[in-house]
């Protein structure tokens, strides 16, 4: 069964306003790592908001393991999909461990607080991402890359098998981008379904097994990165001339994308 099945979704913020999403359809399987590409303002975040049940007034259907999400509560959706937003500076400087435990919200009853077993669970999640030493650090005081990993740990504690990530590498330095992406790829190998938006075609080539290219609110390409992402598509969407060539990595050959040399 498809873990997530998006069928002909269209969305406009107001009745007379322009359609932000136009007849978007794609579906995911367990273990997929899907990169959603597209220029700024193309509707990637809006699509995520629909998938997470923040926006209810879309046309079409979104199925979660075969069940329509339109009738589900936030709690029911949270048990199946976890959202990893772009890491922003928090208003209150919580301890990292407290932030991770917030992922337990959908599992705890309304009036209760986390117990020792939940603390252990949160510690385990931090350890699995290699940041166990940060548990008592202030969430507002650690680096952007570490914050992103903390948010991933929080999503693991939530125990939802589908992860939606909004530009997980935005605002990260070169090293942190790859550290975060490698952890994400590891999660996909362990059976998570991951849908992330990115602006870097190379991340799609290196880590994703599928690319969904959005342009003008529509899906204009859907397939494996090596098949779909070519110079022509990138020129059409981003308006830049690039070369897409094979690259011999240590274990396999994959494509990479670099800007074409031009006369300055």
């Amino acid at each position: 069964m498809k873990t997530l099945d998006i069928q002909n979704v269209s969305f406009a913020y107001s009745k007379k306003g322009p359609q932000v999403l136009k007849d978007v359809s794609f579906s995911t399987d367990e273990g997929d790592l899907i990169a959603i590409l597209g220029p700024n303002g193309v509707g990637k975040s809006t699509l995520f908001k629909c998938m997470l049940g923040f926006m209810k007034k879309y046309e079409g259907r979104i199925l979660l393991n075969g069940d329509d999400i339109s009738g589900m509560s936030h709690k029911q959706i949270a048990k199946r999909i976890a959202y990893i937003p772009q890491s922003t500076h928090p208003v209150f400087n919580f301890e990292v461990l407290d932030v991770v435990m917030m992922g337990l919200t959908s599992q705890l009853s309304v009036m209760s607080s986390p117990k020792q077993e939940h603390i252990d669970e949160a510690r385990e999640a931090l350890a699995s991402l290699g940041i166990a030493h940060l548990e008592h650090a202030g969430y507002g005081e650690i680096s952007g890359g570490e914050r992103q990993l903390v948010l991933i740990a929080r999503a693991l504690v939530q125990k939802s098998k589908i992860l939606i990530m909004d530009e997980p590498t935005a605002n990260l330095d070169y090293g942190n981008q790859f550290r975060v992406m490698q952890r994400v790829a590891g999660l996909a190998k362990n059976g998570y379904t991951i849908i992330l938006s990115t602006h870097n075609p190379d991340h799609a080539f290196i880590y994703a097994n599928r690319v969904v290219m959005m342009y003008g609110g529509k899906v204009i390409a859907d397939g494996t990165p090596d098949e779909v992402l070519d110079a022509e598509l990138i020129r059409k969407v981003y308006g830049v001339e690039v070369m897409v060539n094979n690259f011999e990595n240590t274990c396999r050959t994959h494509k990479l994308c670099v800007p074409k040399d031009t006369e300055f």
Binding site: F92, G140, Q158
Partner: protein, 342 residues
């Protein structure tokens, strides 16, 4: 991954024990200080006798001062301080803004107008309290309705609606002051607006105490969930929390306890803003610790300020003035210290 990030974990249990001990000392000393001096041992003996039915070893004036005069006032100060600090902490979390105070939605302005109206109509003290309470609830209710009718972010429109409605009520209070009798009504309104616990008796304490306890219990039970909502609405939803429902419950409870507090004390500023910040400095940002800390620290703080109000001059100084005198410099210090840290 540098060393400075593995920081020392504070011993919160010890800090709570110290806080509770300090609060108990404040309570004990508050019975002893005042115009009529009572020794600490007499204070303890009076209570020991009340509880264990011992032989009476003091004069009636001592007993009457401790039980009839100081006990209700101390209870009132503690309840009001605890209520304002807890409401402040709750509002700050719900609006994701550490600079919010309990009167953000107009509770104080509404209470002020209600009290002024009761005084203007020459009603008794019980009615003043009742009108103040009703005024606060009506004002916040109006702000909530206005915010639901506007578009845009829920928190922003609530704060804006609060400012709007509370300035309307302040204007109505000012109007009442201009038409009030200048001999006795105007001074009474003015004094009420400055805040004082001088008139608090046992019936006030029971009225406010029951409402404040009833409002604090749900906030206390929901305190862990409040952490989640401080991250913002969308993140809270994605973790399975219903932000509108939680905010409605917490804001309603915080408003109830603020209204109950100001209806017996008049308008006392600063506590709801400063005490939650103090709590965060000592106990971190986790609402599981902030709420109990705010209850104890808020109560003890207002108790000390009220002691000063009672003893500072021959006539009582309105407590609202004192909290501003003490609160504003403390807040300035907190802002500067916080600025250095981050």
């Amino acid at each position: 991954m540098t060393e400075q990030k593995t920081r020392h974990v504070p011993n919160y249990k010890l800090r709570f024990i110290l806080l509770i001990a300090a609060a108990l000392l404040c309570v004990l000393f508050s019975f002893a200080v005042g115009r009529f001096p009572v020794s600490l041992s007499d204070v303890i003996m009076v209570f020991a006798t009340e509880i264990f039915k011992l032989d009476i070893t003091w004069d009636f004036a001592t007993w009457s001062t401790v039980i009839n005069i100081r006990l209700p006032r101390i209870l009132a100060a503690f309840f009001v301080g605890a209520a304002l600090a807890t409401a402040g902490a709750a509002y700050q979390g719900m609006f994701q803004n550490p600079l919010v105070s309990p009167d953000i939605l107009g509770a104080s302005s509404g209470a002020g107008f209600g009290a002024a109206l009761a005084i203007f109509m020459n009603l008794g003290p019980v009615w003043i309290t009742a009108f103040a309470f009703a005024g606060a609830v009506i004002c916040v209710g109006a702000a909530y309705v206005v915010s639901r009718l506007t578009k845009g972010s829920a928190t922003l429109s609530m704060v804006l609606a609060g400012i709007l409605v509370s300035s309307l009520f302040t204007a109505m209070t000012s109007f009442l002051k201009t038409v009030a009798d200048t001999e006795d009504q105007l001074p009474e309104i003015t004094y009420w607006l400055m805040g004082s616990l001088a008139g608090a008796d046992m019936s006030d304490v029971i009225f406010a105490g029951v409402l404040i306890t009833a409002g604090i219990i749900p906030i206390f039970l929901l305190r862990w969930r409040m952490n989640v909502l401080t991250l913002g609405e969308d993140e809270a939803k994605s973790m399975g929390l219903n932000p509108h429902r939680l905010r409605l419950v917490v804001v309603a409870c915080a408003t109830l306890i603020t209204a109950a507090a100001v209806s017996i004390s008049g308008i006392i500023g600063w506590i709801g803003l400063v005490i939650p910040h103090f709590c965060r400095m000592i106990f971190g940002c986790d609402y599981r610790r902030i709420i109990p800390a705010a209850i104890i620290m808020g109560g003890a703080f207002l108790l000390v300020v009220d002691d000063i109000a009672r003893c500072m001059a021959t006539t009582e100084v309105p407590i609202g003035i004192l909290t501003a005198f003490v609160g504003a410099p403390i807040f300035a210090y907190l802002l500067m210290a916080g600025g250095k840290r981050s």
